[in-house]
């Protein structure tokens, strides 16, 4: 996560990054054709550097979530390859944890049980898994809500439970599918800051799907910009925004605003008219 705290450098655009230790995830020539012949992805290739946050951004329906689910092993690719640590992905694995856009919480289970559910499925004894889950429930800011049920929580709080569940299984890679799409703007900004703080402590590789350019620039070390479906990668950029001055400072900084404009200009070409 070095880039999140590095000083501002002149923005640069590059075609992908090679981490000296090898990327955490490699996506090579990925294609997906859905039943009925709808071609969502058409030769998507990019690398996800280890220990960094990479956002995937693109026009609506461009296959961002499909790409994320293929990386998770939840959806099969029609062709192409996804490698995690050099191993081809064929199914979900313990090295990846998913945060769902619609939270995917069990309405009949408490916050604590939902947060511990990944560990429960892995057969971790109750006491141990609840201890771990309790720790992450506190870390995501839900202390005191352990015994609440999802319907008693706001949208933002529910997503924090989803995040706690994903963090509790201690996977190296966190896959986040538009995690803030269902929460309002104030909560979203607070959540973004909390996420960055949490990730700086957890040292995870994060792949983050979003439709918000501002969000992508604010949270990401690297941004993968996709074209309209059938999608390919338009560009991979590394904003390198200086995050040392606090949220307001970042959002007013010329580098941040410049990157928002650049990505907007890039995406404009793919918007349907």
């Amino acid at each position: 996560m070095t880039n999140r705290t590095s000083p501002t450098s002149e923005p640069t655009m590059s075609d992908g990054v090679r981490d000296p230790g090898g990327p955490a995830v490699r996506v090579v020539d990925l294609a997906k054709v859905f039943a009925g012949g709808v071609r969502a992805l058409d030769g998507v290739t990019f690398d996800i550097p280890r220990g960094e946050l990479t956002s995937i951004i693109g026009p609506s329906g461009c296959g961002k979530t499909t790409t994320l689910k293929i990386i998770a092993g939840l959806v099969d690719a029609t062709s192409g390859l996804v490698e995690v640590d050099g191993t081809p992905v064929t199914e979900p694995g313990p090295d990846r944890a998913f945060v769902f856009q619609d939270f995917a919480l069990m309405p009949w289970a408490t916050v604590l049980r939902n947060a511990a559910f990944g560990l429960e499925l892995r057969g971790v004894p109750r006491k141990e898994r609840e201890e771990t889950a309790r720790e992450y429930v506190v870390k995501v800011g839900l202390a005191g809500f352990e015994d609440a049920y999802p319907h008693q929580l706001s949208g933002g709080m529910r997503q924090r439970v989803g995040l706690a569940r994903a963090l509790a299984v201690d996977a190296e890679i966190l896959l986040m599918d538009e995690p803030f799409a269902s929460v309002d703007e104030q909560i979203r900004r607070k959540f973004q800051e909390d996420l960055l703080r949490l990730l700086s402590e957890e040292n995870k590789t994060v792949i983050f799907v979003t439709h918000s350019i501002e969000e992508a620039v604010y949270v990401s070390d690297q941004i993968v910009i996709m074209t309209r479906a059938p999608s390919q990668v338009s560009k991979v950029v590394r904003p390198g925004v200086d995050r040392s001055g606090g949220s307001d400072h970042i959002r007013r900084s010329p580098a941040y605003l410049d990157w928002v404009e650049r990505i907007w200009a890039e995406l404009q070409g793919y918007l349907e008219t």
Partner: protein
């Protein structure tokens, strides 16, 4: 005032029951028919039948086929619904059978059971199964087949085995509809048991209705019918509580 009543649902319930019983009492005094007793007469007969052990004896007879039949459909029906909800091939095979059964006039079929099962215990069990199975199977099937996709994906993403996914996600997610089916099935089972006693051999509660009608003791006949409603309502409520306890703790009253 309405808000205060809404805050105490038992007030509304009591008012609703009092209204219906009052209407019944009034209907009996008119009288609607000589075969329509007053509510108060029926309640006195009801008390008398509890005191002299008439109900105990009758329900001991009715309970046998009812319990066996409902247990068979409760277990078998939920399992059938589960398998149909999980396997498209079984769904294709089984669904039309139960849809046809649900739409068929089961009461008309009950007398035909005697050709196969005679007039004994098995025939009454079959009548209970015939009436309760379709609603239990179809509700269970719908509960299972409509498991939210995101919960299934979540269980996959967090490495659930097939059995853990069924036990920890699919069944709790479908429990609302499964238990709705069980409650309706139990009520239908009561109907099946009484129909069998009315149409096949006069025993148990069905026999009470037939007997008191034949001797024109209408308060006792209505008390017998009332007893079925009370027993069925209590059983269904107990089943609902079991559901909340087992699968839906979030819906339990605080």
């Amino acid at each position: 005032m309405a808000a205060a009543a809404a805050g105490r649902p038992w007030v509304l319930r009591a008012a609703s029951i009092a209204f219906v019983l009052g209407l019944w009492e009034w209907g009996g005094t008119v009288p609607v028919s000589i075969a329509f007793p007053k509510c108060s007469e029926t309640l006195v007969a009801f008390g008398g039948m509890i005191a002299d052990g008439t109900f105990a004896g009758a329900y001991a007879e009715t309970a046998g086929p009812l319990i066996v039949g409902v247990a068979l459909t409760g277990v078998g029906g939920v399992l059938a619904g589960l398998v149909m909800g999980l396997s498209p091939r079984t769904e294709w095979l089984g669904l039309p059978v139960f849809i046809v059964l649900q739409a068929s006039p089961s009461a008309a079929i009950v007398p035909l059971i005697t050709y196969i099962y005679g007039i004994g215990f098995a025939a009454k069990v079959f009548a209970v199964v015939l009436l309760s199975a379709p609603v239990i199977v179809l509700n269970s099937y719908r509960g299972i087949a409509n498991t939210p996709r995101s919960l299934l994906e979540m269980s996959d993403a967090f490495l659930a085995s097939r059995w853990k996914r069924i036990w920890k996600i699919v069944i709790p997610a479908g429990s609302g509809l499964i238990f709705a089916g069980l409650r309706l099935g139990l009520a239908q089972g009561f109907t099946g048991a009484v129909l069998a006693e009315l149409l096949i051999t006069p025993t148990g509660v069905g026999d009470l209705i037939t007997f008191y009608r034949s001797v024109a003791d209408y308060p006792r006949m209505f008390a017998s019918i009332l007893s079925i409603i009370v027993v069925a309502s209590v059983s269904v409520t107990l089943l609902q509580r079991l559901e909340l306890r087992l699968f839906r703790p979030e819906m339990r009253p605080a």
